[in-house]
């Protein structure tokens, strides 16, 4: 068996100057996807972006707002309204079958205390829809 020793250094990824929170990466992806969809439809302007975010995700809506304000200018989404709908975690008990809402920290079954539960909702992270202006 030969062991080859190699060390390589990768330079920083060149994206945005302000890319210091992961919400910036997420918002960058949102804006790119929105732009592609809006352009494909021939839209002149994006009026609203609707996101759905599960509360189990490590996503702060304040940080998303901040990233949007920083990244949207000079894109087709400049001036758009950012609407974020948060989804409460919901699970089903594998023992007794009951469905229940819960917070991020407690997802044992409230009826039988079982820990064998299956998460049904709360990890959403998608662009639901956009509202656009089409040239008349």
């Amino acid at each position: 068996m030969t062991m080859r020793t190699r060390t390589a250094w990768l330079k920083p990824m060149a994206r945005t100057k302000t890319d210091t929170m992961h919400e910036f990466s997420l918002m960058q992806s949102v804006l790119e996807n929105v732009e592609a969809t809006a352009r494909q439809a021939g839209a002149s302007r994006v009026c609203e972006i609707r996101l759905v975010i599960g509360e189990m995700r490590e996503v702060m809506t304040d940080a998303m707002e901040f990233a949007f304000e920083a990244l949207a200018p000079q894109t087709i989404s400049e001036g758009a309204t950012l609407t974020m709908t948060l989804v409460k975690p919901r699970s089903r008990c594998g023992q007794c079958g009951v469905e229940f809402e819960h917070d991020r920290f407690h997802w044992s079954c409230p009826d039988c205390d079982s820990l064998a539960t299956e998460l049904l909702a709360g990890r959403e992270l998608h662009i639901e829809a956009i509202e656009v202006d089409l040239p008349s």
Partner: protein
């Protein structure tokens, strides 16, 4: 006019991660993504783990840091290939960065890649990199209440290594409380109290990892 999208925000990252996964499968390589706070002992645990596994597996390490290459140097000193990714401020690694790191490694001569993610208990949690599993380290000085404060990472981890148990006498760390908190949010997680420094408890963690590698290989065959 309303345009329905239903588009996952992490779609591009997840697709690139799936490509990483396919590339690794092609070479029969197992990839572990290791998450922890700064100073929890990621590099020390990696070095101690490598020491016990290097006779059986050909290993490489991908080091993610905001800046510097001190961690990659520590790995390299042990004769292990290491790729340093400097994120230049970003708080987490993404699939495209891992792809570039994989391109810098000789995949033909590897069985196991360990990713040392950026020291952070929040941001890396939701980013799939193409790994077989995520594991995390919590160190005793950080406190037993961390599962209550950072549930996401404790849920994402298949294994939780409790490091620096040699310092338990110096801190008010309640291991029972810690285990109860973890069980509430991730009952499937395996917990391994270890000291990367003294070597105590490492055997069980290494055996668990070796079992997971063996299972992944069987699954591919």
């Amino acid at each position: 006019m309303r345009l329905d999208m239903e588009k996952p925000i992490l779609d591009l990252n997840d697709r690139l991660a799936a490509e990483n996964r396919a590339l690794l499968n092609g070479h029969g390589i197992f990839m572990l993504d290791l998450l922890a706070s700064p100073g929890a002992g990621k590099t020390s645990l990696i070095l101690a783990t490598i020491e016990q596994l290097r006779a059986d597996y050909r290993i490489a390490v991908i080091e993610g840091d905001i800046a510097s290459d001190v961690d990659a140097q520590r790995i390299k000193e042990q004769g292990i290939p290491a790729v340093q990714i400097n994120t230049g401020g970003a708080c987490h690694l993404e699939a495209q960065m891992i792809r570039r790191a994989l391109d810098a490694l000789d995949l033909e001569s590897l069985d196991l890649i360990v990713i040392e993610n950026v020291g952070n208990l929040v941001c890396p949690t939701d980013f799939y990199l193409g790994e077989d599993l995520k594991a995390m380290i919590l160190s005793v000085p950080e406190g037993h209440d961390k599962p209550l404060k950072y549930p996401g990472v404790f849920q994402a981890a298949s294994a939780i290594v409790l490091n620096k148990v040699d310092t338990l006498g110096c801190f008010d760390f309640d291991e029972r409380e810690f285990r109860i908190s973890v069980e509430q949010i991730n009952p499937r997680a395996a917990i391994f109290p270890v000291s990367a420094k003294t070597g105590s408890g490492l055997g069980l963690w290494v055996q668990w990892l070796a079992d997971r590698i063996a299972k992944a290989r069987t699954g591919q065959e």
